[in-house]
């Protein structure tokens, strides 16, 4: 009962944040409502018992991605005066909404109709130590690949965003 209530509230929070990000005009408002969605999802992970993932979600998405997005918005002067409504939507925006509503509809119909091969509700307590051992044991190769990916992304982002005259100076 309480679990259902918590789920309901969290899903409303998450979806409301996402919808606000889709509809608001001011870009910074969009980014802030996006972070509401991230928090809602993190709380949902916590309520599902995935403590480590939930807290990493907050650390990475709120602490890094949301901050990065607002910095990018300010650097590209997107937070300035309110843009008229016709300027926030792309050329084929009606088609876009039709397509996304259709995708959502198809997904939900497929979900409700299909029998899910699930054995039910196991309340398994996963400790951080177990996660660490799994990451260092069977999942060590993906971990290394993610490390390389992050390094490459870091260097790539710095080089891409570096001013042109500095690139030529080298």
């Amino acid at each position: 009962m309480i679990e259902g209530l918590i789920f309901g509230l969290l899903s409303i929070l998450t979806l409301a944040g996402a919808a606000a990000a889709a509809l608001l005009r001011n870009l910074v408002h969009c980014a802030l409502s996006l972070s509401v969605t991230f928090v809602g999802l993190a709380l949902m992970y916590l309520s599902l018992g995935a403590q480590f993932v939930g807290l990493s979600q907050i650390l990475v998405y709120i602490g890094a991605v949301a901050i990065l997005v607002v910095f990018a918005i300010l650097l590209t002067r997107g937070a300035g005066a309110l843009t008229p409504h016709r300027l926030i939507a792309a050329a084929g925006w009606r088609l876009g909404w039709i397509a996304s509503v259709a995708v959502g509809f198809v997904l939900i119909v497929a979900l409700v109709r299909s029998p899910l091969p699930v054995s039910g509700d196991h309340a398994v307590k996963v400790t951080v130590q177990q996660i660490g051992q799994a990451l260092m044991g069977p999942y060590v190769l993906p971990l290394e690949i993610v490390a390389i990916l992050l390094t490459v992304a870091l260097i790539g982002a710095v080089i891409v965003a570096m001013p042109e005259d500095q690139k030529e100076m080298r």
Binding site: L15, A21, A22, C30, T76, A89, L111, L116, P142
Partner: protein, 102 residues
């Protein structure tokens, strides 16, 4: 609780993310839409981990962790590209970025 409500929320989140990516003009918002779709996938992974037959193997959870790391990398490179493009052409409008069509 059962699995289906979580999957429905994830599907709605995915649809909203797709909607943002398809309908907004600003490149940063398109990236936000992509992030939302990734997050919807993460919610699916966690929900399947929790209600799946073998939660003790932690597969879904670890996949979600890796997915968070990849999303962070994607966001940093994507925003770096947007800033570089803005410096070049003083716009983040995707409709005006179509200049490379020739």
């Amino acid at each position: 609780m059962t699995l289906t409500p979580y999957l429905i929320v994830a599907a709605l989140l995915f649809a909203i993310g797709l909607g943002i990516a398809l309908t907004r003009r600003n490149a940063i918002l398109v990236l936000i839409g992509i992030e939302l779709m990734l997050n919807a996938a993460n919610l699916n992974l966690i929900a399947f981990w929790r209600f799946g037959p073998h939660p003790e193997l932690m597969t879904g959870m670890l996949f979600a962790l890796f997915s968070i790391a990849v999303a962070a990398a994607e966001a940093s490179v994507g925003l770096g590209l947007v800033i570089a493009w803005y410096r070049h052409s003083k716009t983040t409008d995707l409709d005006e970025m179509a200049r490379m069509k020739g």
